[in-house]
Protein backbone atom coordinates (compact mmCIF):
# COMPACT_ATOMS: atom_id res chain seq x y z
CA UNK A 1 0.00 0.00 0.00
CA UNK A 2 2.63 2.50 1.11
CA UNK A 3 4.92 1.14 -1.60
CA UNK A 4 2.26 1.84 -4.21
CA UNK A 5 1.81 5.43 -3.01
CA UNK A 6 5.57 6.00 -3.00
CA UNK A 7 5.86 4.52 -6.48
CA UNK A 8 3.16 6.83 -7.84
CA UNK A 9 4.78 9.87 -6.20
CA UNK A 10 8.19 8.81 -7.54
CA UNK A 11 6.94 8.26 -11.08
CA UNK A 12 5.08 11.59 -11.03
CA UNK A 13 8.17 13.55 -10.00
CA UNK A 14 10.47 11.59 -12.30
CA UNK A 15 8.19 12.24 -15.27
CA UNK A 16 7.98 15.92 -14.34
CA UNK A 17 11.76 16.21 -14.06
CA UNK A 18 12.59 14.38 -17.35
CA UNK A 19 10.00 16.18 -19.45
CA UNK A 20 10.74 19.60 -17.95
CA UNK A 21 14.51 19.20 -18.29
CA UNK A 22 14.40 17.84 -21.83
CA UNK A 23 11.77 20.35 -22.84
CA UNK A 24 9.55 17.69 -24.42
CA UNK A 25 6.09 18.96 -25.39
CA UNK A 26 4.42 15.67 -26.27
CA UNK A 27 1.77 14.68 -25.19
CA UNK A 28 1.61 17.92 -23.21
CA UNK A 29 3.90 20.62 -21.94
CA UNK A 30 5.11 19.79 -18.46
CA UNK A 31 5.46 22.69 -16.02
CA UNK A 32 4.34 23.52 -12.49
CA UNK A 33 0.82 24.26 -13.74
CA UNK A 34 0.13 21.09 -15.72
CA UNK A 35 1.88 18.89 -13.15
CA UNK A 36 2.34 20.65 -9.82
CA UNK A 37 4.91 19.10 -7.50
CA UNK A 38 3.67 16.57 -5.00
CA UNK A 39 4.83 18.75 -2.12
CA UNK A 40 2.94 21.75 -3.58
CA UNK A 41 -0.23 19.65 -3.65
CA UNK A 42 0.21 18.46 -0.09
CA UNK A 43 1.12 21.94 1.14
CA UNK A 44 -2.20 23.14 -0.34
CA UNK A 45 -4.08 20.98 2.15
CA UNK A 46 -2.88 23.14 5.01
CA UNK A 47 -3.62 26.49 3.42
CA UNK A 48 -7.03 28.13 3.16
CA UNK A 49 -8.62 27.89 -0.31
CA UNK A 50 -10.01 31.39 0.07
CA UNK A 51 -9.04 34.26 2.28
CA UNK A 52 -10.38 34.09 5.83
CA UNK A 53 -11.58 30.51 5.42
CA UNK A 54 -10.58 27.27 7.11
CA UNK A 55 -7.80 25.19 5.59
CA UNK A 56 -8.42 23.33 2.34
CA UNK A 57 -8.20 19.96 4.03
CA UNK A 58 -10.97 20.75 6.49
CA UNK A 59 -13.17 22.10 3.67
CA UNK A 60 -12.45 19.00 1.60
CA UNK A 61 -13.17 16.61 4.47
CA UNK A 62 -16.59 18.16 4.93
CA UNK A 63 -17.27 17.81 1.23
CA UNK A 64 -15.96 14.24 1.33
CA UNK A 65 -18.36 13.37 4.13
CA UNK A 66 -21.20 14.77 2.03
CA UNK A 67 -20.21 12.83 -1.10
CA UNK A 68 -19.59 9.70 0.97
CA UNK A 69 -23.14 9.96 2.30
CA UNK A 70 -24.52 10.14 -1.25
CA UNK A 71 -22.32 7.30 -2.45
CA UNK A 72 -23.05 5.07 0.54
CA UNK A 73 -26.81 5.57 0.22
CA UNK A 74 -26.60 4.90 -3.52
CA UNK A 75 -24.38 1.88 -2.98
CA UNK A 76 -26.68 0.41 -0.34
CA UNK A 77 -29.82 0.96 -2.39
CA UNK A 78 -28.15 -0.30 -5.57
CA UNK A 79 -26.85 -3.43 -3.85
CA UNK A 80 -30.29 -4.25 -2.43
CA UNK A 81 -32.09 -3.56 -5.73
CA UNK A 82 -29.51 -5.55 -7.69
CA UNK A 83 -29.70 -8.49 -5.30
CA UNK A 84 -33.51 -8.59 -5.25
CA UNK A 85 -33.61 -8.36 -9.06
CA UNK A 86 -31.17 -11.28 -9.34
CA UNK A 87 -33.26 -13.39 -6.94
CA UNK A 88 -36.43 -12.67 -8.93
CA UNK A 89 -34.71 -13.40 -12.25
CA UNK A 90 -33.14 -16.69 -11.15
CA UNK A 91 -36.59 -18.02 -10.28
CA UNK A 92 -38.33 -17.11 -13.50
CA UNK A 93 -37.11 -17.76 -16.98
CA UNK A 94 -39.93 -15.60 -18.24
CA UNK A 95 -38.83 -12.60 -16.18
CA UNK A 96 -35.26 -13.25 -17.19
CA UNK A 97 -36.08 -13.17 -20.87
CA UNK A 98 -38.41 -10.21 -20.51
CA UNK A 99 -36.38 -8.08 -18.12
CA UNK A 100 -32.72 -8.74 -18.70
CA UNK A 101 -32.44 -6.90 -22.06
CA UNK A 102 -33.88 -3.75 -20.44
CA UNK A 103 -31.53 -4.00 -17.51
CA UNK A 104 -28.60 -4.24 -19.90
CA UNK A 105 -30.00 -1.42 -22.07
CA UNK A 106 -30.31 0.81 -19.00
CA UNK A 107 -26.53 0.89 -18.76
CA UNK A 108 -25.98 2.02 -22.34
CA UNK A 109 -27.47 5.44 -21.49
CA UNK A 110 -24.60 7.76 -20.49
CA UNK A 111 -24.94 8.69 -16.83
CA UNK A 112 -24.12 12.38 -17.51
CA UNK A 113 -26.99 12.58 -19.96
CA UNK A 114 -29.64 11.38 -17.57
CA UNK A 115 -28.30 12.96 -14.38
CA UNK A 116 -30.10 16.30 -14.95
CA UNK A 117 -33.33 14.42 -15.67
CA UNK A 118 -33.04 12.43 -12.47
CA UNK A 119 -32.65 15.67 -10.58
CA UNK A 120 -35.66 17.23 -12.32
CA UNK A 121 -37.85 14.17 -11.77
CA UNK A 122 -36.73 12.89 -8.42
CA UNK A 123 -35.77 15.96 -6.42
CA UNK A 124 -39.27 17.50 -6.08
CA UNK A 125 -40.60 14.16 -4.78
CA UNK A 126 -38.00 13.89 -2.04
CA UNK A 127 -38.80 14.86 1.56
CA UNK A 128 -36.91 17.88 2.94
CA UNK A 129 -33.86 16.20 4.49
CA UNK A 130 -33.20 14.24 1.30
CA UNK A 131 -33.48 17.24 -1.04
CA UNK A 132 -30.46 17.59 -3.31
CA UNK A 133 -28.21 14.79 -2.13
CA UNK A 134 -31.01 12.22 -2.42
CA UNK A 135 -31.19 12.77 -6.17
CA UNK A 136 -27.43 12.28 -6.42
CA UNK A 137 -27.75 9.04 -4.43
CA UNK A 138 -30.28 7.86 -7.01
CA UNK A 139 -27.67 8.42 -9.72
CA UNK A 140 -25.12 6.41 -7.70
CA UNK A 141 -27.77 3.69 -7.30
CA UNK A 142 -28.17 3.57 -11.05
CA UNK A 143 -24.45 2.82 -11.49
CA UNK A 144 -24.40 0.32 -8.61
CA UNK A 145 -27.37 -1.98 -9.13
CA UNK A 146 -26.32 -3.26 -12.54
CA UNK A 147 -23.08 -5.13 -11.76
CA UNK A 148 -24.70 -6.50 -8.60
CA UNK A 149 -27.78 -7.78 -10.47
CA UNK A 150 -25.80 -9.38 -13.30
CA UNK A 151 -23.08 -10.96 -11.15
CA UNK A 152 -25.43 -12.16 -8.45
CA UNK A 153 -27.66 -13.74 -11.08
CA UNK A 154 -24.63 -15.60 -12.42
CA UNK A 155 -23.68 -16.61 -8.90
CA UNK A 156 -27.15 -17.88 -8.04
CA UNK A 157 -27.16 -19.92 -11.22
CA UNK A 158 -23.69 -21.30 -10.50
CA UNK A 159 -24.86 -23.49 -7.61
CA UNK A 160 -23.54 -27.05 -8.02
CA UNK A 161 -26.28 -29.09 -9.78
CA UNK A 162 -25.54 -32.07 -7.51
CA UNK A 163 -25.99 -29.84 -4.49
CA UNK A 164 -29.33 -28.77 -5.97
CA UNK A 165 -30.22 -32.47 -6.29
CA UNK A 166 -29.18 -32.98 -2.69
CA UNK A 167 -31.50 -30.17 -1.57
CA UNK A 168 -34.30 -31.75 -3.59
CA UNK A 169 -33.82 -35.02 -1.71
CA UNK A 170 -34.72 -33.11 1.47
CA UNK A 171 -37.91 -31.90 -0.17
CA UNK A 172 -36.57 -28.34 0.26
CA UNK A 173 -38.67 -25.31 -0.62
CA UNK A 174 -37.34 -22.74 -3.09
CA UNK A 175 -36.86 -20.44 -0.15
CA UNK A 176 -34.51 -22.78 1.70
CA UNK A 177 -32.67 -23.69 -1.51
CA UNK A 178 -32.16 -19.96 -2.01
CA UNK A 179 -30.81 -19.19 1.45
CA UNK A 180 -29.00 -22.42 2.25
CA UNK A 181 -27.45 -23.09 -1.15
CA UNK A 182 -27.84 -20.45 -3.87
CA UNK A 183 -27.01 -17.34 -1.86
CA UNK A 184 -23.97 -18.80 -0.07
CA UNK A 185 -22.55 -20.14 -3.32
CA UNK A 186 -23.16 -16.77 -5.04
CA UNK A 187 -21.24 -14.77 -2.42
CA UNK A 188 -17.91 -14.69 -4.28
CA UNK A 189 -19.77 -13.37 -7.36
CA UNK A 190 -21.73 -10.90 -5.25
CA UNK A 191 -18.60 -9.53 -3.65
CA UNK A 192 -16.70 -9.13 -6.90
CA UNK A 193 -19.69 -7.06 -8.06
CA UNK A 194 -19.72 -5.07 -4.83
CA UNK A 195 -16.03 -4.26 -5.26
CA UNK A 196 -16.83 -2.81 -8.70
CA UNK A 197 -19.93 -1.05 -7.41
CA UNK A 198 -18.17 0.48 -4.44
CA UNK A 199 -15.95 2.60 -6.67
CA UNK A 200 -18.73 3.12 -9.22
CA UNK A 201 -20.98 4.58 -6.53
CA UNK A 202 -18.33 7.19 -5.67
CA UNK A 203 -17.96 8.03 -9.37
CA UNK A 204 -21.75 8.26 -9.65
CA UNK A 205 -22.00 10.57 -6.65
CA UNK A 206 -19.27 12.93 -7.91
CA UNK A 207 -20.69 13.02 -11.45
CA UNK A 208 -24.21 13.40 -10.11
CA UNK A 209 -23.25 16.57 -8.25
CA UNK A 210 -22.17 18.37 -11.43
CA UNK A 211 -25.54 18.89 -13.16
CA UNK A 212 -27.35 19.33 -9.84
CA UNK A 213 -25.19 22.34 -9.07
CA UNK A 214 -24.67 21.08 -5.51
CA UNK A 215 -21.74 22.82 -3.85
CA UNK A 216 -21.55 20.65 -0.74
CA UNK A 217 -19.64 17.68 -2.19
CA UNK A 218 -16.44 16.75 -3.99
CA UNK A 219 -18.12 17.07 -7.40
CA UNK A 220 -18.88 20.72 -6.68
CA UNK A 221 -15.32 21.26 -5.44
CA UNK A 222 -13.83 19.71 -8.59
CA UNK A 223 -16.07 21.91 -10.72
CA UNK A 224 -15.00 25.02 -8.79
CA UNK A 225 -11.27 24.39 -8.61
CA UNK A 226 -11.26 23.49 -12.28
CA UNK A 227 -12.20 27.10 -13.06
CA UNK A 228 -9.19 28.40 -11.12
CA UNK A 229 -6.84 25.75 -12.43
CA UNK A 230 -4.50 28.11 -14.29
CA UNK A 231 -3.85 30.07 -11.08
CA UNK A 232 -3.94 27.34 -8.42
CA UNK A 233 -3.69 23.89 -9.98
CA UNK A 234 -2.65 22.28 -6.70
CA UNK A 235 -6.16 22.75 -5.27
CA UNK A 236 -7.80 20.64 -7.98
CA UNK A 237 -5.11 18.00 -7.58
CA UNK A 238 -5.56 17.99 -3.82
CA UNK A 239 -9.28 17.41 -4.37
CA UNK A 240 -8.50 14.57 -6.76
CA UNK A 241 -6.27 12.92 -4.17
CA UNK A 242 -9.09 13.07 -1.63
CA UNK A 243 -11.62 11.74 -4.15
CA UNK A 244 -9.30 8.83 -4.94
CA UNK A 245 -8.93 8.12 -1.22
CA UNK A 246 -12.71 8.01 -0.87
CA UNK A 247 -13.01 5.49 -3.71
CA UNK A 248 -10.23 3.37 -2.23
CA UNK A 249 -11.84 3.51 1.22
CA UNK A 250 -15.14 2.24 -0.20
CA UNK A 251 -13.31 -0.55 -2.01
CA UNK A 252 -11.39 -1.57 1.11
CA UNK A 253 -14.56 -1.65 3.21
CA UNK A 254 -16.07 -4.16 0.77
CA UNK A 255 -12.89 -6.26 0.78
CA UNK A 256 -12.94 -6.24 4.58
CA UNK A 257 -16.60 -7.32 4.64
CA UNK A 258 -15.83 -10.10 2.17
CA UNK A 259 -12.92 -11.35 4.29
CA UNK A 260 -15.12 -11.64 7.36
CA UNK A 261 -18.19 -13.11 5.64
CA UNK A 262 -16.95 -15.49 2.95
CA UNK A 263 -15.44 -18.64 4.40
CA UNK A 264 -14.22 -20.99 1.75
CA UNK A 265 -11.39 -22.94 0.25
CA UNK A 266 -8.52 -20.68 -0.82
CA UNK A 267 -8.63 -21.94 -4.41
CA UNK A 268 -12.31 -20.98 -4.70
CA UNK A 269 -11.75 -17.31 -4.04
CA UNK A 270 -12.87 -15.40 -7.10
Amino acid sequence: MIAVVLAIVGLWELYHWIWATAGWTWPFVVNDTSMPHVWTIFKAFGEPAQVNQPSLISVLLHKTAFTAKEAAAGFGAGAVIGFVLAVLLVHSRLLQRGFLPYIVASQTVPILAIAPMVVVWVNPKLPGPLQGWGAVAVIATYLTFFPVAINTLRGLQAADPRALDLMRTYGSSRWSVLWKLRVPSSLPYLFSALRLSATASVVGAIIGELPTGLQDGLGGAIFNFNQYYSIEPQELWATNVIAACLGIAFFLLVVLAEKTIVRRAPEHVA
Partner: protein, 269 residues
Protein backbone atom coordinates in the same frame (compact mmCIF):
# COMPACT_ATOMS: atom_id res chain seq x y z
CA UNK B 1 -43.78 -47.29 7.33
CA UNK B 2 -46.90 -48.63 5.64
CA UNK B 3 -48.15 -51.96 6.85
CA UNK B 4 -49.59 -52.71 3.42
CA UNK B 5 -46.11 -53.09 1.97
CA UNK B 6 -43.13 -54.25 3.98
CA UNK B 7 -40.87 -53.47 1.02
CA UNK B 8 -38.73 -50.34 1.39
CA UNK B 9 -38.55 -49.97 -2.38
CA UNK B 10 -40.76 -51.59 -4.98
CA UNK B 11 -40.26 -51.07 -8.71
CA UNK B 12 -42.87 -52.37 -11.13
CA UNK B 13 -42.16 -52.37 -14.86
CA UNK B 14 -40.16 -49.16 -14.60
CA UNK B 15 -39.06 -47.76 -17.94
CA UNK B 16 -37.11 -44.60 -18.65
CA UNK B 17 -36.56 -43.26 -22.15
CA UNK B 18 -34.56 -40.13 -22.75
CA UNK B 19 -36.10 -38.26 -25.68
CA UNK B 20 -32.73 -36.98 -26.84
CA UNK B 21 -31.27 -39.69 -29.04
CA UNK B 22 -34.22 -41.87 -28.05
CA UNK B 23 -32.12 -43.80 -25.52
CA UNK B 24 -33.87 -46.40 -23.42
CA UNK B 25 -31.98 -46.13 -20.16
CA UNK B 26 -34.22 -48.55 -18.29
CA UNK B 27 -36.65 -51.14 -19.59
CA UNK B 28 -39.26 -52.99 -17.55
CA UNK B 29 -37.33 -53.06 -14.30
CA UNK B 30 -38.95 -55.06 -11.50
CA UNK B 31 -37.18 -55.00 -8.17
CA UNK B 32 -38.07 -55.15 -4.51
CA UNK B 33 -35.96 -54.11 -1.57
CA UNK B 34 -36.74 -55.41 1.92
CA UNK B 35 -35.81 -53.58 5.12
CA UNK B 36 -32.13 -53.92 6.08
CA UNK B 37 -31.19 -55.26 2.67
CA UNK B 38 -27.96 -54.14 1.02
CA UNK B 39 -28.41 -54.31 -2.75
CA UNK B 40 -25.69 -53.39 -5.21
CA UNK B 41 -26.40 -52.38 -8.80
CA UNK B 42 -23.54 -53.30 -11.08
CA UNK B 43 -23.02 -53.16 -14.81
CA UNK B 44 -21.04 -51.45 -17.55
CA UNK B 45 -21.38 -47.72 -18.21
CA UNK B 46 -24.66 -46.87 -19.86
CA UNK B 47 -26.57 -49.77 -18.30
CA UNK B 48 -28.78 -47.32 -16.44
CA UNK B 49 -27.72 -48.21 -12.90
CA UNK B 50 -27.30 -44.58 -11.89
CA UNK B 51 -30.55 -43.68 -13.63
CA UNK B 52 -32.28 -46.44 -11.67
CA UNK B 53 -30.96 -44.98 -8.44
CA UNK B 54 -32.11 -41.49 -9.43
CA UNK B 55 -35.53 -42.82 -10.39
CA UNK B 56 -35.91 -44.38 -6.94
CA UNK B 57 -34.92 -41.03 -5.43
CA UNK B 58 -37.38 -39.16 -7.67
CA UNK B 59 -34.54 -37.07 -9.09
CA UNK B 60 -35.48 -38.44 -12.52
CA UNK B 61 -39.04 -39.15 -13.54
CA UNK B 62 -39.71 -42.56 -15.10
CA UNK B 63 -41.43 -42.76 -18.48
CA UNK B 64 -43.58 -45.66 -17.30
CA UNK B 65 -43.99 -47.92 -14.31
CA UNK B 66 -44.72 -47.58 -10.62
CA UNK B 67 -42.20 -46.79 -7.89
CA UNK B 68 -43.08 -47.18 -4.24
CA UNK B 69 -40.72 -46.03 -1.50
CA UNK B 70 -41.67 -46.67 2.13
CA UNK B 71 -45.17 -47.47 0.93
CA UNK B 72 -45.55 -44.04 -0.73
CA UNK B 73 -45.03 -42.66 -4.19
CA UNK B 74 -41.40 -41.80 -4.90
CA UNK B 75 -42.37 -38.11 -5.06
CA UNK B 76 -44.02 -38.21 -1.65
CA UNK B 77 -41.09 -40.12 -0.17
CA UNK B 78 -38.63 -37.53 -1.49
CA UNK B 79 -40.69 -34.65 -0.18
CA UNK B 80 -40.92 -36.35 3.21
CA UNK B 81 -37.15 -36.85 3.28
CA UNK B 82 -37.45 -40.63 3.49
CA UNK B 83 -34.03 -41.44 2.09
CA UNK B 84 -30.45 -40.30 2.39
CA UNK B 85 -28.21 -40.03 -0.67
CA UNK B 86 -24.45 -40.12 -1.26
CA UNK B 87 -22.96 -39.18 -4.62
CA UNK B 88 -19.58 -40.02 -6.12
CA UNK B 89 -18.34 -36.63 -4.93
CA UNK B 90 -19.04 -35.66 -1.36
CA UNK B 91 -20.94 -32.48 -2.45
CA UNK B 92 -20.26 -30.75 0.85
CA UNK B 93 -21.00 -27.06 1.32
CA UNK B 94 -17.67 -25.26 1.56
CA UNK B 95 -19.10 -22.43 3.62
CA UNK B 96 -20.27 -24.77 6.36
CA UNK B 97 -18.15 -26.62 8.87
CA UNK B 98 -18.20 -30.41 8.86
CA UNK B 99 -20.68 -30.39 11.77
CA UNK B 100 -22.95 -27.91 10.00
CA UNK B 101 -22.83 -29.99 6.82
CA UNK B 102 -24.07 -33.02 8.73
CA UNK B 103 -26.74 -30.85 10.37
CA UNK B 104 -28.08 -29.62 7.00
CA UNK B 105 -30.81 -32.27 6.53
CA UNK B 106 -31.75 -31.93 10.19
CA UNK B 107 -32.26 -28.18 9.69
CA UNK B 108 -34.47 -28.94 6.70
CA UNK B 109 -36.51 -31.31 8.85
CA UNK B 110 -36.95 -28.60 11.47
CA UNK B 111 -35.02 -30.20 14.34
CA UNK B 112 -34.19 -27.80 17.15
CA UNK B 113 -30.62 -26.78 17.88
CA UNK B 114 -29.97 -29.07 20.86
CA UNK B 115 -31.32 -32.12 19.11
CA UNK B 116 -29.26 -31.31 16.02
CA UNK B 117 -26.11 -30.86 18.05
CA UNK B 118 -26.55 -34.16 19.87
CA UNK B 119 -27.19 -36.07 16.65
CA UNK B 120 -24.25 -34.46 14.82
CA UNK B 121 -21.99 -35.56 17.67
CA UNK B 122 -23.26 -39.13 17.37
CA UNK B 123 -22.77 -39.11 13.61
CA UNK B 124 -19.24 -37.69 13.86
CA UNK B 125 -18.35 -40.52 16.22
CA UNK B 126 -20.03 -43.06 13.97
CA UNK B 127 -17.83 -42.10 11.00
CA UNK B 128 -14.81 -41.63 13.27
CA UNK B 129 -14.42 -37.91 12.64
CA UNK B 130 -15.09 -36.91 16.24
CA UNK B 131 -12.47 -34.16 16.35
CA UNK B 132 -13.16 -32.70 12.90
CA UNK B 133 -16.56 -31.09 13.51
CA UNK B 134 -15.19 -27.55 13.35
CA UNK B 135 -13.07 -28.13 10.25
CA UNK B 136 -14.12 -26.96 6.84
CA UNK B 137 -14.57 -29.56 4.09
CA UNK B 138 -11.55 -28.43 2.08
CA UNK B 139 -9.32 -29.24 5.04
CA UNK B 140 -10.24 -32.95 4.79
CA UNK B 141 -8.98 -35.72 2.51
CA UNK B 142 -11.28 -37.22 -0.12
CA UNK B 143 -11.99 -40.26 2.02
CA UNK B 144 -12.83 -38.13 5.05
CA UNK B 145 -15.09 -35.91 2.95
CA UNK B 146 -16.97 -38.98 1.76
CA UNK B 147 -17.41 -40.12 5.37
CA UNK B 148 -18.93 -36.72 6.15
CA UNK B 149 -21.32 -37.23 3.21
CA UNK B 150 -22.32 -40.62 4.61
CA UNK B 151 -22.87 -39.12 8.07
CA UNK B 152 -25.02 -36.39 6.51
CA UNK B 153 -27.07 -38.98 4.59
CA UNK B 154 -27.67 -41.08 7.70
CA UNK B 155 -28.12 -38.29 10.24
CA UNK B 156 -31.92 -38.38 10.15
CA UNK B 157 -32.07 -42.21 10.26
CA UNK B 158 -33.68 -42.73 6.86
CA UNK B 159 -35.09 -46.18 6.15
CA UNK B 160 -33.28 -46.06 2.82
CA UNK B 161 -29.78 -45.04 1.80
CA UNK B 162 -29.01 -44.43 -1.89
CA UNK B 163 -25.33 -44.50 -2.84
CA UNK B 164 -24.14 -43.62 -6.34
CA UNK B 165 -20.58 -44.94 -6.70
CA UNK B 166 -19.69 -43.33 -3.38
CA UNK B 167 -16.13 -44.64 -3.32
CA UNK B 168 -15.48 -44.49 -7.07
CA UNK B 169 -13.19 -41.49 -6.83
CA UNK B 170 -11.07 -42.88 -4.00
CA UNK B 171 -7.88 -44.94 -4.09
CA UNK B 172 -8.09 -48.69 -3.54
CA UNK B 173 -6.76 -48.65 0.04
CA UNK B 174 -9.17 -45.98 1.19
CA UNK B 175 -12.00 -47.69 -0.63
CA UNK B 176 -11.46 -51.02 1.11
CA UNK B 177 -11.26 -49.36 4.50
CA UNK B 178 -14.43 -47.38 3.84
CA UNK B 179 -16.16 -50.59 2.69
CA UNK B 180 -15.57 -52.06 6.13
CA UNK B 181 -16.66 -48.86 7.84
CA UNK B 182 -19.81 -48.69 5.73
CA UNK B 183 -20.74 -52.22 6.75
CA UNK B 184 -20.24 -51.39 10.42
CA UNK B 185 -22.40 -48.28 10.03
CA UNK B 186 -25.06 -50.21 8.14
CA UNK B 187 -25.04 -52.81 10.92
CA UNK B 188 -25.77 -50.08 13.46
CA UNK B 189 -28.35 -48.05 11.55
CA UNK B 190 -30.33 -50.78 9.85
CA UNK B 191 -31.15 -48.75 6.74
CA UNK B 192 -31.77 -50.55 3.49
CA UNK B 193 -29.06 -49.63 1.00
CA UNK B 194 -29.02 -49.31 -2.80
CA UNK B 195 -25.38 -49.14 -3.85
CA UNK B 196 -24.26 -48.39 -7.40
CA UNK B 197 -20.74 -49.54 -8.23
CA UNK B 198 -18.34 -50.44 -11.03
CA UNK B 199 -16.43 -52.89 -8.90
CA UNK B 200 -17.48 -56.54 -8.74
CA UNK B 201 -15.48 -57.31 -5.62
CA UNK B 202 -16.87 -54.26 -3.84
CA UNK B 203 -20.43 -55.30 -4.76
CA UNK B 204 -19.95 -58.88 -3.56
CA UNK B 205 -18.16 -57.85 -0.40
CA UNK B 206 -20.82 -55.38 0.72
CA UNK B 207 -24.13 -56.76 -0.44
CA UNK B 208 -26.83 -59.16 0.52
CA UNK B 209 -27.84 -59.19 -3.15
CA UNK B 210 -26.08 -58.06 -6.33
CA UNK B 211 -28.24 -56.90 -9.23
CA UNK B 212 -26.34 -57.28 -12.51
CA UNK B 213 -27.51 -54.92 -15.23
CA UNK B 214 -26.88 -54.87 -18.98
CA UNK B 215 -27.00 -51.87 -21.29
CA UNK B 216 -28.99 -50.70 -24.31
CA UNK B 217 -31.69 -51.04 -23.20
CA UNK B 218 -30.85 -51.05 -19.50
CA UNK B 219 -32.33 -54.10 -17.85
CA UNK B 220 -31.64 -56.62 -15.12
CA UNK B 221 -29.44 -59.43 -16.43
CA UNK B 222 -29.58 -61.41 -13.23
CA UNK B 223 -29.54 -61.25 -9.47
CA UNK B 224 -26.93 -63.00 -7.32
CA UNK B 225 -27.75 -63.72 -3.67
CA UNK B 226 -24.64 -63.19 -1.57
CA UNK B 227 -24.66 -65.92 1.04
CA UNK B 228 -21.40 -64.92 2.73
CA UNK B 229 -21.51 -64.81 6.54
CA UNK B 230 -23.19 -61.62 7.74
CA UNK B 231 -20.15 -60.38 9.65
CA UNK B 232 -17.67 -59.47 6.90
CA UNK B 233 -14.02 -58.83 7.63
CA UNK B 234 -10.93 -58.15 5.56
CA UNK B 235 -10.46 -61.97 5.46
CA UNK B 236 -13.83 -62.39 3.74
CA UNK B 237 -12.14 -61.23 0.53
CA UNK B 238 -9.80 -64.25 0.71
CA UNK B 239 -12.49 -66.88 1.25
CA UNK B 240 -13.23 -69.40 -1.54
CA UNK B 241 -16.95 -68.54 -1.44
CA UNK B 242 -16.10 -64.89 -2.09
CA UNK B 243 -14.21 -65.88 -5.26
CA UNK B 244 -17.05 -68.14 -6.41
CA UNK B 245 -19.53 -65.30 -6.04
CA UNK B 246 -17.24 -62.82 -7.79
CA UNK B 247 -16.92 -65.30 -10.64
CA UNK B 248 -20.68 -65.74 -10.76
CA UNK B 249 -21.27 -61.98 -11.05
CA UNK B 250 -18.48 -61.68 -13.63
CA UNK B 251 -19.99 -64.41 -15.76
CA UNK B 252 -23.40 -62.76 -15.61
CA UNK B 253 -21.78 -59.56 -16.81
CA UNK B 254 -19.97 -61.43 -19.61
CA UNK B 255 -22.89 -63.57 -20.65
CA UNK B 256 -24.63 -60.50 -21.93
CA UNK B 257 -21.86 -60.27 -24.51
CA UNK B 258 -21.14 -56.68 -23.59
CA UNK B 259 -17.81 -55.04 -24.05
CA UNK B 260 -16.35 -53.93 -20.81
CA UNK B 261 -14.84 -50.49 -20.43
CA UNK B 262 -11.28 -50.33 -19.09
CA UNK B 263 -12.38 -49.62 -15.52
CA UNK B 264 -14.69 -52.62 -15.60
CA UNK B 265 -11.97 -54.80 -17.04
CA UNK B 266 -9.75 -53.63 -14.22
CA UNK B 267 -12.46 -54.51 -11.72
CA UNK B 268 -12.37 -58.09 -12.99
CA UNK B 269 -8.75 -58.48 -11.95
Amino acid sequence: MSSASPAVVRLERVTKTFPRGNVTALQDIDLELRPREFVSLIGPSGCGKSTLLRVIGDLVEPTAGVITVNGKSARQAREDGDYGIVFQEAVLFDWRTVAKNIALPLEMLGWDRDRRRARVREMLDLVELGSFGDHHPWQLSGGMQQRVAIARALAFEPALLLMDEPFGALDEMTRERLNLELLAIWEQTGSAVVFVTHSISEAVFLSTRVVVMSPRPGRIAGIVDIDLPAARTAETRDSPRFFELVTKVRELLRSRGEHLLPEEAAALE
